[in-house]
């Protein structure tokens, strides 16, 4: 467990983008209606946004950034870094960040790289980009985070109804006069198989039989290129690590649980977030949710929730926020942020 603080990196703007197409979990006919409705009630996920085959995560990031930059009034030449956080890059290589540097019209002096993280990716990304800015030499940067993953097999009820598609653009800049950002991180790779895709990497390249679906005891079927998700271990992991992470974070920021205006949790499912809220002793109104309309959108859930649920409050005045990402890795990162004149445009739909 690591604690850190950034005192000269400011979050200037947050924008999010989703595909226009809406899919409904009510139409998931692999499960009988009664069971389907029970899962919808448990997860809180009724609808999800779904990208057409030609739309990549980078396209959504681009749309979010193109919305944000004019509202910030930032010249492209002033941007010196692009960090793309995703598990759905355009190609195996090169990194998608370079492609986005070009598509966004950013200068060739831009430092650009990808980070392979999911649920915890947004808060990790804030620290990575903020650290680059704080180190000096780069004045402004973009954190582009999200996923358009289709690796959750339609036939596995454990994962098929959870995931949606979304991405975000967050603008950060060097500033001598800003509120500090506090962070708490952790990793537990011993649990990597709790959420993973068995085939498709170097350890187990895709083979002819990788797409064959095996029957699951819980119903449905799954292939080696589909995500494996152990919900019981995810519950235990989250309840073991996340409330403690947030309490350590608040301690380092010299804040109490009650001081925080809103807790923006990674949106994995509503049951999990309710348990975290209960362990922290906070009420539901302090933990905004976007699960009903968007589902789990990986590293985009936190900025998407800010865009969809908090933009008016942020525009009205400073907010004390805790953002906490947790999941695949296993990995987690929590951030304490007191907002200050943040540009937060409406949700972009493409």
């Amino acid at each position: 467990m690591a604690l850190a603080a950034l005192r000269r990196a400011r979050i200037a703007g947050v924008a999010s983008a989703v595909p226009k197409e809406v899919v409904s979990n009510s139409d998931y006919t692999v499960l009988p209606e009664e069971q389907r409705e029970k899962i919808i009630k448990y997860t809180g996920i009724r609808f999800r946004r779904w990208a057409p085959p030609e739309l990549c995560c980078s396209d959504l990031c681009l749309a979010a950034a193109e919305k944000l930059l004019p509202e910030l009034g930032w010249e492209r030449e002033s941007i010196g870094a692009v960090v793309f956080v995703s598990q759905t890059s355009d190609y195996p290589f090169p990194a998608t960040a370079q492609i986005l540097q070009d598509r966004l019209g950013l200068p060739k002096s831009t430092l650009a790289f990808d980070v392979n993280l999911g649920c915890s990716g947004y808060t990790y990304g804030l620290y990575i980009l903020g650290s680059l800015l704080e180190a000096g030499g780069i004045q402004r940067g973009l954190l582009l985070a999200g996923d358009v993953s289709k690796m959750h097999g339609d036939c596995d009820p454990a994962s098929a109804v959870l995931f949606g598609h979304a991405a975000s653009a967050t603008a950060m800049e060097f500033s001598e006069k800003t509120n500090p950002l506090f962070f708490e991180f952790g990793s537990d790779g011993s649990g990597f198989k709790v959420i993973y895709v068995p085939a498709g990497g170097s350890r187990a390249p895709v083979a002819a039989d990788s797409f064959e679906k095996g029957a699951l005891a819980s119903g449905g079927s799954r292939g080696a290129t589909d995500v494996v998700l152990d919900a019981a271990e995810i519950i235990n992991f989250t309840m073991r690590e996340v409330p403690l992470s947030i309490k350590r974070l608040l301690g380092s920021a010299d804040r109490a649980v009650a001081d925080v205006d809103a807790y923006v949790f990674h949106q994995a499912n509503q049951f999990i977030n309710n348990q975290v809220a209960r362990k922290l002793g906070i009420t539901a109104d302090k933990a905004p949710t976007t699960l009903y309309h968007f589902g789990n959108t990986s590293s985009a859930t936190i900025p998407l929730t800010i865009t969809a649920k908090l933009r008016e409050r942020i525009a009205a005045g400073p907010q004390k926020l805790v953002m906490s990402g947790f999941g695949v890795g296993l990995s987690w990162a929590s951030t304490y942020w007191e907002t200050d004149h943040v540009v937060c445009p409406p949700l972009v739909e493409i």
Partner: protein, 81 residues
């Protein structure tokens, strides 16, 4: 009895169970409401009420609610030692 309290917590945690309908010797995995979501509710209840964690695999060694309570009680004792 603490085990009876555990049974009440179980009845509250798992949706659709009539309060007072179960006892410590109930084979939890045979009740009509038992499914993958009930498992998650049980794990969350154990964490919240007893401040210990039970793994999904550990539960497979338990046949009755009394067995689960025994596991939880042993973990609490171990944590306090």
């Amino acid at each position: 009895m603490p085990v009876d309290q555990f049974v009440r917590h179980f009845e509250n945690a798992v949706e659709g169970i009539t309060p007072g309908s179960l006892n410590p010797d109930t084979q939890y995995h045979k009740i009509a409401q038992w499914d993958s979501l009930a498992l998650l509710c049980l794990l969350a209840m154990i964490d919240c009420e007893y401040d210990v964690q039970v793994g999904g695999m550990e539960l497979k060694s338990c046949d009755t609610l009394r067995d689960i309570y025994g596991l939880v009680a042993a973990k609490k004792l171990s944590a306090a030692a």
